[in-house]
Amino acid sequence: MKLWSKFVLLFSVMLILGACGNGEESGDSIKEGKTKIEYWHVNAETQGGQTVAELVEEFNAQSDTVEVVAKYNPDLYKGLMQNLQAEVAAGSTPAIVQIGWAFLDYFSNNFSYVTPQEVINAHFEEDKTFLEDNFLPNIMDLAKNSEGSQVGIPYSLSTPVLYINRDLLSEAGLPTTGPTTWEQLKEYAKVILDKTGKYGFYMQEPADNWATQALLESNGAKIMTDGKASFASEKGIKAYSLLRDMVVEDKSALHIGWDQGIQSFIDGNVAMLYTTIAQRSNIQNNAQFDVAAIKSPTWEGKEVKLPAGGAMLTITAQEEQQQKAAWEFMRFLYSVESVAKWTKGTGYVPAREGVADAEKGLKPFLAENEMMKAAIDQMSGVVPWTSFPGDAGLQAEQLLLDVRDQILSGSVTVEEGLTSTENSINELLK
């Protein structure tokens, strides 16, 4: 039949093409005796995917005992969590996984993991003080769950910064150094709208409450106090009202999805963008105006409190052999050179000490990269990203997201929205 002959022809063409593509990879067959471990990450090509591949390749080439296979998980830490959930339900686990901070408690309550220090103590006498020597205590604390146990080691660290379009600022007659306080930012946004007709501000709206926490806690509110939600305090409401008023009253801030918000900043329709430092290379490479990243605004007379974004590395390997291999790989990832590479590839702030000012680390890189400076300079203000404890923790996080949409669409007042959400979260957490 003619139809089938065409199909067969096409199929064989594909096979030939495929065979060509296959040629190169048959070379690197896995050496006998190597322990094979899986490393799960969320780094898409635009978020350090290339760097993960390079680091893994470099490690595999120099290690005689361990072979790492990296698995990319789409849809960030939530997507990774889903895959991990399914994998564990099916009875197996990867060796190392990146866990986003918002999942810290959920992960430690539901999955079995081993504290890195335990693995080190058991097998690597020489690394006994590695963590102590190279990490600041407040950074290590980010990876402690609500019971105080060290779940993993901070790896990808990000903080929110304010990206500004200097061209638009000067067009509106504003100082191009940008606002330093939230109060100022609100004024600026209004002026920009009036003078240029462009949106003054966009604050990232992903499916988490990271930026919201920065806004609220910098004003002295606490998302959670003693295991109970407490964001509907006077300070919390005041902070949230600022954002709401910009969106609903002034209409000087944009309320839109994250991808679209970034698109609108890069093409010059929004003058100020509050988002993660991980967006640096995207913005730097594509914006055609005078763009800068400045430190996160403060509230007048108060200190910033910025939740750490990103992820920690945790060891989920169950067998001893795998756990050993996992640490060997992690030790490699936390070396000064690897961390420096990681920062260059992703825009994350180095989690360990001794990278920023080392010649073989980031010193030359930071000298040229003004934008990274903002993120590194504000590291002293970093606090843990609140993750609600218990089985209903994720649901609580979801409620806080739901109320964001209600408040910013103007369908409830900030006070009503936050208060009722706080109540329902506390009901859940009981």
Binding site: A89, H255, G257, Q260, S409
Partner: protein
């Protein structure tokens, strides 16, 4: 040719049940393994409180069902589902039916070109469609918004507005499935004898009457198929843009029954709640299906029965 309105009872009988069963075996076996068993397992799960990984499943009886029925979000989501179905039917059933009719009889030239062009977007994955439309329809920076701006129109911030979000997502979904439905209906209408139509035209029967009294009934076998896949596949297909563009938001405004079951199971890890919701959704669909079997199938026209 005559229109047979009731199904012919007489069937050619093959008394070879064994052969029949063996013809069915491959399909039944694979469906049993990857559909029935998971389905039964899900029913089982709907009576437990479980997060998929903890070692203990707590038996909670009907509590999950009670929770689902008491949850106001369930009703919002079901209402959204109905809205999705309605809009999907308008674009992919009604409009494609009319287009198929018109293209068959009233457009002489270029019908080949039209057919191919309508079908083209069907090849594209909805992942691509979702990214593409997020960009194209950016209400501030997208090309569509800019062009609208020239004539003084502004675009609603659809990704954050109730109502609009469903409209845009169904448009994206329809972009993909419209062509396929159209081609099916076109082929079916094309199979109808031209003489009947000619005769009707000569008698000055208005177009809408031809459509409802001749075309509709005579293409109903395909029509009912298109009707069903529009609902079923349409809902499943819309999952991808919902997930990529809106994650069910803002405040569940874009969530439908399928996405919400996913959200409960794979975002909040409330397996039991999700299972109960899925079973209830399934129950609603089955009721619709029974209605279809009982009333609609009877009136369907199969040729040469």
């Amino acid at each position: 040719m005559q229109v047979v309105t009731s199904r012919s009872k007489k069937r050619f009988v093959h008394k070879q049940s064994i052969l029949a069963y063996s013809l069915l075996l491959p399909s039944v076996a694979i469906i049993a393994m990857f559909m029935f068993w998971p389905f039964l397992y899900t029913i089982y799960l709907s009576f437990f409180d479980w997060n998929m990984i903890s070692l203990t499943k707590n038996f909670v009886g009907l509590q999950n069902y009670i929770d689902v029925l008491k949850d106001p979000i369930t009703y919002k989501v079901l209402l959204n589902t109905a809205l999705y179905i309605l809009i999907l039917l308008v674009f992919n059933f009604t409009i494609s039916y009319i287009f198929a009719f018109v293209l068959n009889f009233f457009v002489g030239k270029m019908d080949g070109f039209y057919k191919s062009a309508f079908f083209l977007p069907s090849f594209i994955s909805l992942v691509v469609g979702s990214i593409l439309f997020t960009w194209l329809l950016n209400p501030v920076s997208g090309p569509v918004a800019i062009v609208m701006g020239w004539i003084g129109l502004s675009m609603p911030i659809w990704s954050k507005s109730e109502g609009w979000i469903i409209v845009v997502i169904t448009l994206i979904t329809s972009w993909k499935i419209f062509g396929y439905n159209f081609i099916l209906l076109y082929a079916s209408i094309n199979g109808i004898s031209r003489e009947i139509i000619e005769a009707a035209r000569l008698d000055n029967v208005p177009l809408w009457k031809i459509f409802f009294h001749i075309i509709g009934p005579m293409s109903s076998a395909t029509g009912i198929y298109v009707f069903i896949i529009t609902i079923v596949q349409g809902l499943q297909f819309s999952f991808t843009p919902i997930k990529i563009i809106a994650q069910g938001g803002p405040n569940y405004a874009s969530s439908n029954a399928i996405y919400h079951a996913y959200h409960e199971a794979f975002v909040l890890y409330r397996t039991g709640h999700s299972a109960a919701l899925s079973i209830l959704t399934m129950a609603i669909f089955v009721v619709l299906l029974i209605v279809e079997f009982k009333y609609v199938e009877r009136g369907i026209y199969y040729e040469n029965k």
